[in-house]
């Protein structure tokens, strides 16, 4: 009689979520007495909304979105943080004359919205660049779709990419790394925590739930560590779970390799310093900060502590 857990991912089935699929495939969840359902995400599926409606027990979400939701009255709590560092960056054409962040002024930039725009906006406000596209020295922001076409078609000078995904696609399109200039958010000091596990605060009062989550996190981290060590096999597992059949082996193996760099060094425990840095980035959003005040109780070590023992 296994406990049922539903996990809502932030995006489509890909190596970005390899740890969970590995745990499922290798039976780690089963061993922990869990019956886990993984719901892939997709464009415009907001994991925060899914968990609010009771459609999932636990979600993978970026911390900016989770904290913003918390401020909007949806009390999400980070219970684990498998991703130690951020994979987000801005990728620009080198030949248009962008060398440093200040050169971004007066350019057209592609940005993801849907709650993923927060780190970008914070960065721009730290740089003192307006984002209205009208005033002198501001940038024109486009809501970029789900692919790297805006860059390849030169509709934008720079676009948002993840180290593990879109950047690889640009390279696959025949562009050599030398043609590109990249700004990693980690390097710019505006990195925010990505891909943490979040649950509803009220559920944490239930010891049975806490126990369930502890087992879940432990099994998931076991999956992550296995994935880091066996990137190719992990990628193939992900591929098997992809119902669209659209992912390619080559791309997933490369993605797993890049993801492993981000999960490296995390045992699932949230690093309070990284948390603090994220919060400060979000609070520092200039005139339009993502969150207005320091959140409280937005994370807990209870689960990871229990999981790691």
């Amino acid at each position: 009689q296994d406990d049922e857990v539903t996990l809502q991912l932030k995006w489509v089935t890909q190596a970005q979520f390899a740890g969970y699929y590995v745990a499922l495939e290798n039976g780690y969840y089963e061993d922990a007495g869990l019956d886990v359902t993984i719901l892939p995400g997709g464009p415009d599926i907001a994991p925060t909304q899914v968990i609010a409606g009771g459609g999932a027990d636990v979600v993978v979400e970026w911390m900016p979105a989770a904290l913003a939701a918390r401020e909007n009255g949806l009390p999400l709590v980070n219970i684990a943080q498998p991703f130690a560092s951020s994979g987000m960056m801005l990728t620009c054409w080198g030949d248009v004359g962008i060398e440093e962040p200040a050169d971004l002024a007066n350019r057209t930039l592609g940005v993801w919205f849907f709650g993923n725009e927060y780190p970008f906006l914070s960065w721009m406000s730290q740089l003192g660049i307006e984002t209205d596209g009208a005033s002198e020295g501001s940038v024109e922001v486009l809501k970029q779709g789900f692919n790297v076409d805006p860059l390849l078609q030169r509709q934008a000078d720079c676009i948002s990419t993840m180290t593990y995904n879109e950047y690889g696609q640009v390279i696959d399109a025949g562009v050599s790394p030398e043609e590109l200039v990249t700004f990693k958010y980690e390097d710019q000091g505006v990195a925010t925590l990505e891909d943490g596990l979040y649950v509803l605060e009220e559920n944490l009062e239930d010891p049975a739930f806490v126990d369930k989550m502890a087992r879940f996190v432990a099994a998931s981290m076991k999956g992550w560590k296995w994935a880091e060590e066996n990137p190719e096999e992990a990628a193939m597992i992900v591929l098997d779970y992809d119902e669209t059949g659209a992912q390619s082996e080559h791309h997933q193996i490369r993605m797993m390799g890049e993801i492993a760099k981000l999960t490296a060094g995390s045992d699932g425990t949230l690093d309070p310093e990284a948390y603090q840095r994220t919060v400060e980035t979000l609070l520092g959003g200039g005139s339009d900060p993502v969150i207005a005040q320091e959140p409280e109780g937005a994370w807990t070590h209870v689960i990871t502590d229990q999981a790691l023992n």
Partner: protein
Amino acid sequence: MSYVVFAFVLWAIGFAINLQLAGGPAQRSAAARLAIPLIFGATLLAMWELLVRGLEVPTVILPPPSQIGATFAANTSILWGDFVQTILKGALSGYLMGCAAAVLVALLVDRYDYLRRGLLPLGNFMAALPIVGTAPILVMWFGFGWQSKAAVVVLMVFFPMLVNTVAGLSDTSAMQRDLMRTYAASWPQTLLKLRLPAALPFIFNGLKICSTLALIGAIVAEFFGSPTQGLGFRISTSIGQLNLGMVWSAIVVSALAGTAFYGLVALLERRATFWHASQRK
């Protein structure tokens, strides 16, 4: 729980009023025809409000109308900007271009039977292309601005309009055409004096169908890339921010605009085809 009970009581009251109105002596009056749907709509809204509160539905799943109203009122300038971007720039320009092109092609198709037999089956096939699939392509081709939205709209309205206009142009009785033959009327004369007027009801039917299509097309296209403005952008972005009040406000704008647009075309139709049986009572 009492909210829920109250909701159904309210429903019963609204229904009773409408029963009265519809069965009463005023049933044919314009006022009743307006009041009944409005009362119905109002009861629906009230029930929505009460049920959401009574059943404690999380507002990030479904906000009550009062919250939507408040958000709407507080963000009128943003919503106006979105309206201009999506409806006026994207939908309207695409609508005009698409419908005009369709009517012109319809005239060609109508003139040359070979074209009709070749193009219409193909047109029906093309019309079946789901635009959600074409939108990313068109955004790639025409950029992030309103032009790609207009292109999606053109593609969306062109075939329904074409099919309607072609049907309309051939909706003349054999007798009416024979009459023109006995006058030895030329093709342009027949077109101008018989076929175009006879086609008007069909053309307007097409215009009406296309009015809602245009709106939907423009909004959907924004999901695949847009400037930081527009109803589609607003909806998508606000969901991500869990700002459901804003999502629904944008939907309200779209529904209002769509209904007004449809109503306007229907009004024009009444004016232009007052003579048609469907417009007379």
